[in-house]
Structure formats: C-alpha cells, structure tokens
Amino acid sequence: MRKFTRYILQKFSWYLLAFFLALFLNFLLPRLVPGDPISVLVSQMMSGAVTSEAQERVYQSFIQEFGLDKPFFVQFFTYVGNVFKGNLGTSFSLYPLSVNKIMADALPWTLFLQFPAIIVGWIVGNLLGAFAAYRKGNFDRILFPVALFINSVPYYCLAIILLYIFGVYLRWFPIGGGYSRTLLPSWSWPFIVDVLHHYFLPFISIVLVTIGGQAIGMREMAIYELNTDYVTYCKMLGMGDRKIQSYVFRNAMLPQITGLAISLGTMVGGSLITEIVFGYPGIGSTLFNGIRRLDYPLIQGSTLIIALTVLAANFIIDMVYGLVDPRIKAAQVEGS
C-alpha cells in the first residue's frame, strides 16, 4: 500500500505542475492578442456628446480597477492569489458581473446538454455495436459504414448540417438559444416543452457522434471476443446463446467503460463548438463571447474550469487504473 501512496503522490505532483502551467497559459494567451478591451467598455458607457478628457478619466478608472496598469508579473500573481481564494475576477464584457457568477450560470447548461447526451449516445452506441457484431449480415453492412461516416464527420459540421436542415430549411426546431425569449422560465408545461424543443438539435448532434464512435468500438471488441477460446469452449459445452452473449458483452465492455469515464471527465470542454453553433447557453458560448470581446477574466475563468475538469478526470482515471490494473502500478514504481 505504501508503494501505491507513492504512485498517487507522483501522479499528483505531475498534475499539479500541469495545473500551474495551465494557469499561466490561461493568463498569458489572452493577453497576447492585440487589442484594447477597455476602450470598448468605455465607449459603451459614454454615449452622445463627450469630451476626450472625460473619457480618458473613465478609461483610467477602469484600468486601475482591473489592475491593468501594474507590471505583468504582479498582475499574474494577483490573479493566482485570487484563484486560490476562489475569486475569478470581474468580467469586462459583462461588467460588473463576477466571473464566478457567470460560470455558475453557464455550467449547468453545459452539463445539462452533455451528460444525458453522452450517456444516451454511449448506451445506444454500445447496444448497436454489440448487436451488429452478433447479427452480422445486412444490419452490420449498413450500420458499420454509417457509424464510420458519422464518426468521421467533425461534430461541429454535423451540428451545422442538422441546424441547416431542421432549423433553417424545415423550420422544425428553433435555430438558437436555450428557450424562447418570449417565455418566462418556470416549471410550466409550455416552458418545459419549449426547453426540450430547443434542446433537441444540440442534444441529438452530440448523441449521433457518440453513437458512431461507440458502435464502432463495441463492434470491434465484440467481434474479437466472439473469436476467443472461451466462447468456443462455452459453445462446445452447449451453453445457450443468451448466456454466451452476456459473457461476451461484459468482457467487451471494459475498454468502453474507460472511454465513458474519459468522455464524462472532459465533458465540460467536450463540445464547446456545439454550443456556439446552436447559440446554446453554456461554457462554450461564454468562452466564445469572452474571446470576441477580449474579456481576459472571462477567458481565464472558462479555460481554467475546462482545464481543471480535464485534469481532475484524468487524475481519477489514473487512480482507478492504478487500483484496478497492477501492471500499471508496478511499472510506475519500478520506473522511478
């Protein structure tokens, strides 16, 4: 067990390093983009006839408030200090909202979209893949290329195609937003129906891609398992098809479960562009708007949350692997 503790510590320090690197890049990259985010804020605030002198004073007051007049590294360490206090700063473009609040509003939408889509896509994809492996024949001949096709199309292209056909051309679904602007959010049926109406296209675009990938993976695994010795042995014992299938399914599932864990772990940053394409509220749309307005704190906040969830998911997977697979643990400990 002590060895395992060492393994954990080792992994943890690597992840901590990666985290600090991410923190630094989050801070640095937005600032490398040319442009002045404050001038847009100032010009929004002043309307009509204004003199340069007054505008300059307003400009300076914002520069001071955001600490943009301080040297680069002072700004950076202030930022890191605030992050550890759980304060992501004040947004420029949505001034004076705090980035914490914006993230708290956006995150549920992203999870609401991604989590069910990944689960549904995963279950359906695996069932289809397994089914194709057993049934072979025409079902497989059709399913396999279709799945391959869907899986090869970038998910955002699929999103745009869906949006065009069902939203713009057929007008079956709304072309953007989380719900109609003319309805008030409430637990009323019209509103729930409306939310689902807006939900469908982005949801299905992620589900389809997930199904494609999962079905291919599951089909390969199941075919491999079907040709193993234990299946032949079971058949010779005269076991029922159902029973054998359940064994095969269970064995083929193992890598698929890892895949699911990774998808769930990276779901916050998983399909940012889906949100942008459908104008769906969430982290992706928020980040996109932040970039358009060069909103440093908002970009930092979004990318930090994405980096954190990806790192945490990977860390947990590493831990579970270490527990489950002794080979990994052993290799790590020997290697050091």
Partner: protein, 577 residues
C-alpha cells in the same frame, strides 16, 4: 418500497405545484408591449454608472422609463426640448442658465424630486468619472437657488452654451437620499460604487423593474406615476413592457414578423416586403424610401498624416469613386437617402444650416471619371501594370486598409463596396474586420489607413458637435495615445478658431455664415467621407396587439420606439383587439 412511493408522490406534487405556480408568472399579452433591439447580452446590473448596465437604465438620452432626465431632446421631429423633470430653462446671462423644476415630481418611494437631487446628480459627474462627466468641462458650478430653481454656471474661460444645453438631457436625476448612502458605503470610490447592483432601482419614471433574467427584462407600470400631470392625468397604456433578449438579429426579426414583438429597434432589411408582399400589419416612419428618418452618418475616416493619404486630392478622388447608391442599397437596404458632401445632416433639426448650393458647388458625388481625372490630372498618377495607379514619386496607391469591427454587417458591407469602388478605378483598398477590441484600439490610437465610425448622435449641439469631433485638433493626443475624436489627427487653425467661436454666437445669420465656412474647409480637405445616413434608432412597429403608432402621416411623436421623446407613444397606442 414505501419510501420510493412516497418520493415519487412528493416529486409529482412538486412538479404539479411548480407548473401551477409557473403559469401565474406569464403576463397577459394584451397588457404588455413587447420591445426589441435595445439589449443584446444578459443584463448585468441596474446601476446606471457602469459600462454596460441593463439597457433601461443605460442612456439618459434614450431610456427614460425608470430614471428621468430634466429634459429630453427631440432632434428628429421638432428640434425642441421636451420637459420632463425640468419645466423650463433660460439663459439669464452669457454664463448663467436657470432651470425651473416641475414641482409635482416624486420618486417611486414617494420622496419629492428636489433641486437638491438635481444638484447632487450633476455633481456626481464632477466628483467621479462617469458617463456625463464631460459637461463639467464647461461648468463651474451647479447650485440650488430655491426649491424649484437650479442654476448652471459656466466657466468664464471655457463657456459653451451648446454643450451645456446638451447636458440638460445627459444625466439621470437620481434620489440623493438613496445614493448618498451608496456613496458612503463604497467609501466614495467609483470602482466600488460601480459594484452596487441597484436591484429594483428607485427612479421617478413611469416604469419600474418587474423581472430580469439573461433572457428577458420586464418593466411594470408605476400606477402612481407623478408625470400623469404632463399627460392630462393619464397613465401610459401598457401595464408591462417586455424586452426579450434575442441572440441574433434574425431571431428578433422573426419574432417581430410573427407579432411576438410590437416595437423594434433592430436593423430589419427589406422591411417593405412585410406589408407589400406578406400583408403584415407592420410599419415604419415612411411608407417608401428611405423608410426611416436619417439622423447619423457613419463615415470613412482617413489617417490624414500618412502619405500618400495626407494628400487631400487623393482623398477627394476616393470620395468621387465610391458608389454611395450601392452602399445604401446593399448595406442599408435602401434606408439611406443620397449622401451629401457635408458634415451637416440635411434632415431633422440641423437641416437649417445645410447649404445646398455650396454642397453642390464644392462637393462630390459618385463619379468614377472625375476620380480618374483627379488622379491623372492633378496628381499626375499613372496606372501600373497591375491596374493600380502609381504617383510620380513612385508611391503605389495601396494597398490601404479600411477597417471596422467584425460582425457589424452593414458596416462590413459598406466597406466592401468602398474597396470594390476604389479597385474599379485603380486604387487598392482592402477591408479588415477584426473583433471590436482590436478595431477600437486601432481607431483610437490612429493605427489605421481608413477606419469607419459615426461622428455623433442627434443633439442640441449639432451640427457644431460633428465639426468638433471631426475637425477640432485642440486636446487631441498624438498617435499611439488614445483619442476619442478626430481619429485621423486632422489639424487646421482656421477650423479650430471657428469651432471655438460658434458656441458663443447666437445670431442665426452669423451662425449660418460660420457653418458655411467650416463646411467649406471640410470639403476642401476631406478628412472623412460620409458613407450613408442612418436613423439614430430604427423604428418598426407591428400592430397585431397594439395600434396607433406614429408615422409620417400621424407625427404626434418622433419615430423612436418608446425612447427619448418617443416615449409619448406609450400614451397614444391602444389595444388592437
């Protein structure tokens, strides 16, 4: 098992309860006026002193629903001030403006609007850098003479009647009894005052905030609004004003066509098709071209010190080569009438200073042959093998970059046409559409060949203000530093003199003469070229639920969708059903 049943039951009760509750929240359509086009992002705060507050507290010149200014200026229809909290004003002498207040006014919480509140509100702009601080460039003091009278005293060394009058509509009068405490809690620090969220703002206007979310803003009528005395004792007709926050123009325009929105400020191309082809009960100010009332002039600004663009003849050649009609047609959906070679907009209140003969004599219009004539004749340029002119000193005419923010689709289209027009005669102009922070920065620091911007809005200080913003060189910082006007760093001593002189002149004949001279200087040097006229705000109404909106046939209020002097509309419309 029992537990599971109980849980299911509870969930069901909660869901049904929620459904029942939810339906009560929806507001009756026939009592609500739906407006669109003022707010594009989530409302972040109700504090009017921040950069991007909820729109209904954002701009005293337009949104006078919750907070009210002293006067609002009707620059489209009459050129008059409409009294709100102020009753009247007059100049006692050259430096002293006396404003009489309406004695009936009180805030939503019942406290009277006093001369102290007015003084307090204006002095906030002196104390802190906020939206209307610039009025203090000309003011020395604002003080109360008696409960109904406030005196605005101008600086003797920098008087400007035009801008002080403009300032009468530039500030919300806020209750001192609330804000003095906010100031104190914030330690008199503007960055802290800006953080005060001002939930449920207490103003003096006809509406108050009822509901706010990232998707919708709802205002509710104040049923004991003091201002009924201004309207024969009547309240505005809509009990609610709803602003759905659409994600895009298209989404909002679709909702407007469907009658889900009654009054819209969005750019809606080819609006005439709504009534001509689709038979919808939709209207704008005019039934034919230009449909809207022109008020501002988005213009092409030159960097006038950057060779070869420092040569006014080259700028004039460009002015001749631009196909303005095409810009109006393709970029502005024909909403822009013929653009004149003048910094005076020939519509609305400032039209009286527009000198048709002079513009015709000295101005330009779309005429590519004339442009070529200038290039070859006056500049001695010769066409290179690539079809682009080269000056005698070997300078190729381009590539010049013409820039404006990405996503401003009508502006983007206008600049594309400028580039095409120029290329067609042999001047190489390329367009560049970076995101707003980059475009703003380049424009303000003078890092451009050509950029696009609107000099200014309707104001009692027009057309002086347009000249001041385009031509005045005093106080404009050098290249690399941020300038908020005269982005091309134009300099002309006579123009500076005239701009300093005009605010002190009251004789109309004299004023006309001075404006003629200024406009002639402008036409001689061409530091900017107006590309189109644009309405200050778009005005589109759908009479599915409400009828009686003003238009050219029934001009009881300016064509502004419930903002500025257009707020009168709310007292005239009535349910259509």
């Amino acid at each position: 098992m029992k537990k599971a049943v109980l849980t299911c039951f509870l969930v069901l009760v909660l869901a049904l309860g929620g459904v029942a509750f939810g339906q009560q929240v929806q507001i009756p359509r026939e009592e609500a006026l739906y407006v669109a086009g003022f707010q594009w992002g989530p409302p972040t705060t109700d504090n009017p002193f921040t950069g991007s507050p909820m729109t209904f507290v954002s701009n005293p010149r337009q949104h006078i629903w919750i907070y009210e200014p002293l006067f609002t200026y009707d620059g489209l229809l009459t050129g008059d001030f409409v009294p709100i909290l102020g009753e009247s004003f007059q100049w006692r002498d050259d430096l002293t403006l006396e404003v009489k207040l309406n004695p009936n006014a009180y805030f939503h919480d019942g406290e009277k609007v006093t001369a102290d509140d007015v003084v307090y509100s204006y002095k906030l702009g002196q104390k802190y850098p906020i939206g209307y601080s610039s009025v203090w460039d000309w003011l020395e003091d604002v003080y109360k003479e008696d409960d109904q009278t406030v005196i605005f005293k101008m600086k003797a060394d920098n008087p400007n009647k035009l801008m002080v009058e403009d300032g009468l509509g530039a500030a919300y009068i806020i209750p001192e009894h609330i804000w003095a405490k906010v100031e104190e809690d914030a330690g008199n620090d503007i960055t802290e005052i800006r953080k005060f969220d001002n939930k449920d703002p207490i103003g003096s206007g006809p509406y108050r905030v009822y509901y706010e979310s990232p998707e919708t803003i709802i205002l509710e009528r104040v049923d004991d609004y003091w201002g009924v005395v201004l309207y024969d004792g009547e309240l505005p007709r809509p009990k609610y004003v709803v602003h759905p926050i659409f994600k895009s123009n298209d989404e909002g325009n679709l909702a407007f066509e469907n009658g889900e929105v009654d009054l819209s400020q969005q750019f809606m191309p080819r609006i005439w098709e709504c009534w001509e082809n689709k038979g919808l009960p939709i209207g704008t100010w005019y039934k034919e071209i230009p449909y809207h009332v022109p008020a501002t002039m988005p213009s092409l600004w030159f960097n006038v010190n950057k060779p070869p663009l420092d040569n006014p003849e080259l700028r004039r050649a460009i002015a001749y080569c631009i196909d303005y009609a095409k810009i109006s047609e393709l970029a502005m959906s024909n909403y822009s009438p013929k653009v004149e070679a003048s910094l005076i907009v020939p519509y609305g209140a400032q039209a009286k200073y527009f000198n048709k003969e002079l513009v015709k004599q000295e101005g330009w219009e779309y005429n590519p042959e004339k442009a070529v004539e200038i290039l070859e004749g006056e500049l001695g340029a010769k066409k290179g093998s690539d079809g682009i002119y080269v000056l005698p000193d070997g300078t190729r005419l381009g590539p010049f970059k013409a820039e404006c923010p990405y996503g401003w689709t009508d502006w983007n289209a206008a600049l594309e046409i400028v580039a095409q027009s120029a290329k067609a005669i042999g001047i190489d102009i390329e367009t560049s559409f970076p995101d707003a922070p980059v475009a703003y920065d380049n424009r303000e620091t003078g890092n451009f060949d050509m950029t696009m911007w609107t000099p200014s809005e309707p104001s009692p200080a027009q057309p002086w203000l347009n000249f001041q913003i385009v031509l005045h060189s005093k106080g404009v910082p050098e290249y690399g530093k941020i300038a908020y006007r005269n982005f091309g760093r134009y300099k002309n001593e006579r123009a500076d003199e005239l701009i300093d002189l005009i605010p002190t002149v009251t004789d109309e004949a004299e004023l006309k003469k001075l404006y003629d001279e200024l406009d002639s200087i402008y036409r001689k040097d061409v530091p900017v070229i107006p590309l189109m006229y644009r309405p200050w705000v778009f005005y589109e109404y759908n009479e599915t639920y409400w009828k009686g909106f003003p238009n050219d046939d029934n001009p009881y209020a300016p064509g502004m969708p419930g903002v500025g002097a257009g707020i009168k509309i709310l007292w005239h419309i009535e349910p259509a059903k």
